[in-house]
Amino acid sequence: MNAAADDVAIRARGLTRCFGKLVAVDHVDLDVPAQRVYGFLGPNGSGKSTTIRMLCGLLTPSGGEIEVLGLKIPAQADELRTHIGYMTQKFSLFEDLGVRENLEFLAAIQGVPKAKTKRRVDELIEQYHFGDRQRQLAGTMSGGQKQRLALACAVLHEPQLLFLDEPTSAVDPESRRDFWEKLFELADAGTTLLVSTHLMDEAERCHRLAILDRGALVADGTPRELTAQLEGRTFTVETDDPRAAQRALASVAGVLGVAQVGNILRVLTGAEGVTPDMDRALATTGHKAALAAAPPNLEDVFVAATRRDAERAA
């Protein structure tokens, strides 16, 4: 699954960005392999958008070095622009232009040769299912359609590298699945994709991902690698009174997180071997509770990564 080490699309070292006193991105080191879907997972305000903007040369870093597709950023940002596509978090196409008009406009701006433009636009309209609504104004389309159009516009000039900033935040699950199909097609065709998200199920689809928390990179690896690190540290608890059990478990040393999922509690511990302590704590609630080991998922990874960071900070 790992791309070859020399085949790196983005390399960043010590990437930092401050807004006044706020450190939005704090010494982030990144290596994004080429031709893969690389995920940026993190809550709102964790520095995902700021990092992406620095990587494509829209923001000047306060510190650190960036190399994207072999180009030094921000110094060679102008050169980079012809090789990247950028899909903004907020819909940024022209709402008072039609589907075809938007595509044709961007084709000209991106420098797609005139002779090729019509073929390329037709091709995208076909691929992205806009055949029957070429003249529809972008502003009147649904969230999913807008997202599809934005992606079509971002790949118009066949960029080597595609930045997508929370592309599916305003999209229903069905459209989201179609959207990810498209992303994998692009990766198969040789495009490198960097996708930011705060959704676990989306992060799970990435070939490789980085977890950002309060501006710092707290974990990175393939989803499988990341979850494997937590083997033996995740449990479920079934009980009549989940609220009481949650309170009891939260006070046990070594428990990193307890989350209620329906009637079940999901527990994450800092290390293996906390089971006896947890059993004891559950017994104090006076309710029957069944503690069982469970396979770790990305949410656990996320909680583990961010808690560890908080402890280090404390």
């Binding site: 494509c56 923001l59 000047t60 921000p74 102008d78 622009r81 950028y86 940024s92 991106q110």
Partner: protein, 369 residues
């Protein structure tokens, strides 16, 4: 009507206003600056009008007459030339608004009781025409303490004649319509472009555009060009209506009228772009436009005579594109002057355009920070 809800809206509005620093500055700035500026600047009682003098008699009496005219304070001499023809050329070029001509046979005319001098007036500015009439009141008898002349018995009226060129009937429309081209272009052109870039920033289009190979100059110049065409259409509409409804003459060449209008359009568009790079919202852009528009109307000479304003304000008004345009368009349309004769104002507009455009392109960063 619930007072608490009502009050909540009031408080919210004030809070939002407090955070909008430019709007806040405008709330105070517009009344203070504009009132001070206009209060001092606008003076409908004209004094110190630029005048050219031809004294062909050059006698003690004629010199005394000219001195008397200057003593009224209505005119200030900027040039002395040798022939009335030269004076008329200066008026056509807009260098002077008033000419004083004393003929060679001044002394004889004085004794004969005929008109002793002539005032030439640029009638394309009706206010100047009215002011010049005051010069006709200068008493001739005191012009020279010459006891031989029976001057004392001569009535004052009629001894100095006045000729108004270019708008002898003093019709306001003739004066207003050419200026109106400038005023309308100033309003629409600045606003169009002032909003153009802010709007894209507000709607989020800008983040997309700056991530593409598009350059600042391409974006700025591309934004301006379509409006040049719109501005020329507006010019045509005003010209057509002006000549058809108000019989406003176009004495000069129509090409010059369009060239002058084109220059003003470019100057205003460039100014709008600069505003656009500065404003944070469309609302702010509109306020800044207004901030430029008001002085343009009041100080350029469109509404109140330029000559009547204090020197300091005149210098300030020289910055405004409309001031130069008014001189050009009145010169071309009403006095039949050519742009080449008024090259200084052409140059001023060109320099203004280039400076604003350069500032706008420099100020516009292809970055988000």
């Amino acid at each position: 009507m619930n007072v608490r809800r009502l009050w909540a809206i009031v408080v919210k509005e004030l809070r939002q206003l407090r955070r909008d620093r430019i709007t806040l500055a405008m709330v105070v700035g517009i009344p203070v600056i504009q009132l001070v500026l206009f209060g001092y600047a606008i003076n409908t009682n004209l004094r110190g009008l630029d005048a050219g003098i031809v004294d062909q008699a050059n006698s003690a009496g004629s010199r005394a007459l000219v001195m008397d005219m200057l003593a009224t304070g209505v005119v200030a001499p900027v040039a002395r030339v040798n022939t009335p023809q030269e004076l008329m050329a200066m008026i056509r070029r807009g260098q002077v608004g008033i000419g004083i001509v004393v003929p060679p046979d001044f002394e004889r005319r004085r004794i004969d009781g005929r008109a002793v001098a002539q005032i030439l007036v640029d009638g394309s500015d009706t206010a100047v025409q009215a002011a010049a009439a005051q010069l006709m009141q200068v008493p001739i008898d005191s012009a020279a303490p010459d006891t031989r002349a029976p001057a004392t018995s001569t009535p004052v009226g009629g001894r100095i004649s006045m000729v108004a060129f270019y708008n002898p009937q003093r019709r306001s429309a003739v004066n207003i319509v050419p200026g109106l081209i400038g005023v309308i272009l100033t309003m629409t052109m600045v606003l169009f472009t002032a909003i153009a870039i802010v709007r894209e920033r507000e709607r989020g289009n800008m983040e997309l555009l700056i991530a593409t190979p598009l350059t600042s100059s391409e974006l700025m110049i591309g934004k301006v060009l379509p409006y040049v065409a719109i501005g020329l259409v507006q010019t045509s509409v005003i010209l057509a209506l002006g000549t058809w409804l108000f019989a406003v003459p176009i004495l000069g060449s129509v090409v010059d009228v369009y060239l002058a209008s084109g220059l003003l359009i470019l100057a205003n568009l460039a100014l709008g772009l600069l505003i656009s790079t500065r404003a944070q919202s469309q609302f702010q852009a509109m306020q800044m436009t207004f901030f430029v528009f008001l002085p343009s109307i009041l100080l350029s000479g469109f509404m109140f005579p330029f000559a009547g304003m204090p020197k300091l304000v005149q210098w300030l008004a020289e910055i405004l594109p409309l001031t130069h345009f008014l001189r050009l368009i009145r010169g071309v349309m009403l006095r039949g002057a050519g742009l080449r004769e008024m090259w200084l104002d052409v140059l001023a507009l060109a320099v203004f355009t280039l400076a604003m455009m350069a500032l706008a392109i420099l100020r516009f960063r292809k970055r988000l920070d």
